[in-house]
Each structure stands twice: as C-alpha cells, then as structure tokens.
C-alpha cells in the first residue's frame, strides 16, 4: 500500500460524509466518477476504508447505550508482545474500539452495553478473567460533547442575517 504524508482529499470528504456518491465527489473535486469509484473499491479492499457508519447522539436518538472506557494492563507474551491478546479482546462484540496506548495502561478498550449491569458483567466475567489481563480500570461515560468530529447539541450556535452586502 502506498503511503504519503497527505491523505487523499476524497477520503477527507468521505470521512465527513460517507453518503457522498462517486458522482457527487467527482463534481466536488473536479475528478472522474468512474476513476473515483475504482479508488474507493481499492481502499475498501486494502482496508484503508474499514467501514461506514452513522454518528448517533444517543441522548437524542433514544435507546441510550452505556459506554465504558476501560484501561487494561496486559502481561506481554513471549514472541507476540500484546498483539495476540489485544486482538482477542477486540473480537468481542461488546468492544467498539480497542487501541494500544503509550503511558499508563497498555490498552484502552471502549465497551458498549445495554445497561450498567451488562457492561459490568462483561468486565467481570469476560475481560478481567482472560489469561494475561493483569488489571482493568473501568470509567463509565457520563455524557458527550463531541463525537467523531461532530459537536453534540444544536448545530448552529448563532443566528445569521439572510441578506447581507
């Protein structure tokens, strides 16, 4: 896979709005729609594009899920370091994000469940009992101000006149 310092502008547009069609992207960037469709397929195949999702503010959408950010200390394995264990943890459906970190804890795992109880059960029964997991520290998310680059709350923070010179 080719890596350069600058991210392709098409990916920047798609990251902001994944619904943009190749035709719309072609108009916006002055490119060719077929060529853009081919590039997107290639990114999907290579995993440069991992997926598409809708950013939902659960405080408005209802059915609020409980999210916890769990710092996890791991015992590194001979020859594998943290990779094998981290990949196992990432495979749980409850785990939404899983990152290797510098500093304090080795992993940060974001877990989502229908209730506090469900998340607690996952941590107590599944995560902390895994061989190699030394310690977990669970912090429940209390509210949200910004998600995936989108500010929560009302979109517009001031009124604009409709006609100005």
């Amino acid at each position: 896979m080719h890596h350069s310092d600058e991210i392709d502008p098409l990916l920047v547009h798609l990251q902001r709005d994944a619904r943009l069609s190749p035709e719309a992207l072609a108009t916006m960037t002055g490119g060719d729609a077929d060529e853009i469709a081919r590039k997107i397929s290639a990114w999907e195949e290579s995993g440069a594009i991992l997926g598409y999702h809708t950013v939902i503010d659960s405080s408005k959408a209802g059915g609020a899920a409980v999210r916890a950010h769990i710092s996890v200390d791991l015992r590194p394995e001979d020859g594998h370091g943290f990779d094998r264990l981290a990949a196992r943890i990432a495979r749980f459906d409850e785990v939404k994000d899983c990152f290797l970190m510098s500093g304090g804890a080795d992993l940060v795992v974001v877990v989502e469940g229908a209730s506090l109880h469900e998340v607690a059960q996952f941590v107590a029964k599944k995560l902390s009992t895994m061989d190699g997991v030394e310690r977990t520290m669970t912090a429940f998310q209390l509210g949200g101000y910004k998600q995936n680059g989108f500010l929560a709350g009302s979109g517009m923070d001031e009124d604009r006149l409709a006609i100005t010179p």
């Binding site: 502008p9 547009h13 709005d17 719309a24 108009t27 916006m28 960037t29 002055g30 923070d157 001031e158 604009r160 006149l161 409709a162 006609i163 100005t164 010179p165």
Partner: protein, 403 residues
C-alpha cells in the same frame, strides 16, 4: 397618515433638513430586498456576503481569555503594535510588499472604515474615482460622502467580469485621482488576469493617480494549480508609493461581525487616515484586535480548510447551474457565483422577488451592485451542501417554469 397629523408634519420637517448629500444617496437595493426576505420565514439563503463558518474556535478562545483577563481598554490609534507587526509580516509574505509596522499600517473597523478613511484622506471636492462595476455596494456612496465623484467602469461577462485596461484609460480625465480595484470581486467572484493588471498599473503611474486595492477576498482563490497565483497591484513596479492596500479578517478568517480591517500605505497617507480615524473611531475594538493576533499567529490551517470547502461548494453550484441551463462563468475567487438570468425574460429584481415568493430561496439582484449587474443575480454558495442542493432544485423548478 393625514396631513394634519402633527407628528408626521414634524417628521417631514426634520427629513427636509437632513443633509442634502445624505438625502441624495439612494437606498441600498440590498436593504429593500433584505426587508422582503425578513418578512418571509424559513428561507434558504444564498443572499449573504459572509462565510457560513463561525470564527475558528482557537480565535474565539483567545478572545474569551482576553476578556477574562480584563483586556477592555483603548489601544493606540493605529492599533496594537504587535498586531501591526504581524500584519506587516503577513502582507510581506502573502502579497510580497514590505510596510513599516510603526508608520505604514493602520487598523480599522473593517475594510469599510478603511475605505472611508482612504477616500476622505485623498479626495478634494470634485475629484473623480474610477472603480469597476458590478461592485460592492458601498463604493459609490462612500466616494460621494467624501465629496468625490464616482466614475464606474463596466466590466463584461465575456471577460469573466475582469477589468480591461483600455476601459480604465477611456474613463480617465484630468479630474481623476484614484482607481479602486477589488479582485476577487464581490459580487461576481471575478479575478484579474495579470497582463491587464500590469497594464492598469502602467496607466495609474503614467497619469500619476492613486490606487486603492480592496484585497478582502485575496485568500479565497480557486483553481490555483491551473491559474495565476494572486497578485496585488501594490506589488507591481511603481505602485507601492501610490497604493493603499486594504485588507481585513472578515472573509478569510470568518470574522465579519468582529469588524476588523487594516490599511497599508506610505506613511503620509496612513498619517492622513489616522487623523480622521482618531477623531471618529479612535481605535478598533481591542477584543477584535486580540482575535486578529491569534488569527495571524495560528490561523493559516483553518483558512486553508475553509478555502477548500468553498471550492468544493463552488464546483457543486456551477455543476447545478450547468444542468439548469443558466450561463455562469467560473468565478476564480470569493464565495459568489453570478449567473446570467436573462433567458428567463425577467429583470434581476423580478427574478429574485419571484424566486423568493415561489421557492423560498433568496439570491440578490445583480442590479444592487450597479446598473451593469442587471440581468444577473449574486448567489453566495457558502452554505451547507444539503441546503445548496435544495436551493439548486428550487432554482431548477423556477427556471423551467419560466422557459
């Protein structure tokens, strides 16, 4: 109201005694239209002359901190020394013209104030000022209020509303004192080809005129990889000593309501402008000056992000115009498109009023920007892409029903 109504009588009496100069200034066409739009709710507006972004957060944050620290005093008449230094550095790197931060930079309440100061500093009664039309609404009245005589020169759609040096030459008389340029242009989005700019500079030097160049949209240039980079007339040979370069923070940094502009010019001109400014405005608001310092120190990234976003929306809008069948030249800057609506058989004012009534979409009649804007409408595409799509759908229906 009846003739005998005493309040109406005294009102008439007062309005008769308003200064003749002010009474002779026509009401802005934009203002009339604004009132129509205000009366209607829920309008999709392509009628604004400003970015749809709020001021970048880092600038707002700097402003909040300065207020918390109690930074609410007057500043030097010319503006905060640090801001003037940053402006001099920026103007040198962006326009390639060097100014002394201590003596050749004045910070004003928007470019509008700077323009007013510049005319008042340069004009004696009867002096003529040449400017290109369609243009920003304030040029002509500001010239008149400075006792000058406005001499508009028409630009042509077939030139992409750029200014022909030959047209400037024919407008020059022995009374001409100043030539005003504004590229990229509000309302057309026009940019000026370098060769014509150079020819105009030679004319200005030859006739020993002054030049006021309103550079407010200079950062917002598109197709930069294919076109000329932005050149200010101030950087051309013989021009620095006779040019007032006007610029500000409203458009590039999305700071319209913070009202901050500046002028760079030879010391004698800045000194003259300062003399008026110190007795009228005193100084530009310190809060806005603090924001401008942050903008110049850390704002390049957000400006480029916004520029890219306007370019994308310009492309969407132009594609829409093409599909609708309204001729529209490709604007190289600002955030306006200026489509030709003559095929609908409507005047630009009729087009705007009927489009507002039938589709709840606001665009501005080209005639508000001078007689030469008739037959065109100004559309500001700095609006959310989904609203832009909705507006294009509405214009499509409207134009189809008129063809």
């Amino acid at each position: 109201m009846s003739e005998s109504d005493p309040s109406s009588e005294s009102e008439n009496c007062v309005s008769d005694r308003i200064s003749q100069i002010v009474r002779d200034i026509p009401r802005s066409g934009i203002r009339d239209f604004f009132e129509l739009v205000q009366a209607k709710g829920d309008v999709i507006s392509l009628g604004v002359g400003e970015p749809d972004f709020s001021t970048p957060w880092h600038i707002r944050e700097a402003i909040i901190r300065s207020l918390e620290r109690g930074q609410t005093s007057y500043t030097s008449n010319l503006g905060m020394p640090k801001l003037r230094e940053l402006i001099a550095e920026y103007v040198e790197s962006f326009f390639g013209v060097k100014y002394d931060a201590k003596e050749e930079v004045i910070i004003t309440v928007g470019v509008s104030e700077a323009l007013d100061l510049a005319f008042r500093a340069l004009l004696d009664p009867g002096d003529e000022v040449i400017y290109h039309e369609p243009c920003y609404v304030s040029y002509s009245p500001t010239i008149v209020m400075a006792h000058g005589r406005p001499v508009p020169v028409a630009t042509r759609p077939e030139d992409g509303f750029s200014l022909r040096a030959s047209d400037v030459a024919s407008a020059i008389s022995e009374k001409t004192k100043v030539v005003v340029l504004n590229f990229p242009t509000n309302p057309t989005g026009a940019v000026q080809p370098l060769a014509e700019l150079e020819a105009i500079a030679r004319l200005i030097v030859k006739h020993d005129l002054f030049c006021i160049t309103d550079e407010i949209y200079s950062e917002l240039r598109y197709d930069i990889q294919t076109g000329d980079p932005h050149v200010s007339i101030a950087s051309l040979p013989g021009m620095r000593e006779r040019t007032i370069l006007l610029h500000g923070f409203s458009k590039a940094y999305a700071m319209t309501g913070l009202r901050l502009g500046y002028a760079c010019a030879p010391h004698a001109i800045v000194e003259a402008m300062m003399r008026i400014h110190q007795y009228s405005m005193l100084c530009a608001p310190i809060t806005s000056q603090v924001g401008a310092i942050e903008a110049l120190e850390n704002g390049a990234g957000p400006v480029e992000e916004m520029r890219k976003s306007y370019e994308v929306r310009r492309n969407l809008f132009l594609q829409g115009m093409k599909e609708i069948g309204l001729p529209c030249f490709t604007p190289g800057g600002a955030f306006y498109a200026f489509p030709d609506i003559r095929k609908t058989g409507l005047s630009s004012a009729e087009f705007c009023v009927q489009l507002l009534e039938e589709e709840n979409i606001a665009v501005v009649p080209g005639s508000a920007f001078g007689a030469t804007g008739e037959g065109f409408v100004r559309c500001c595409y700095a609006t959310a892409p989904d609203l832009l799509e909705k507006a294009l759908d509405g214009i499509r229906r409207f134009v189809a029903s008129r063809s």
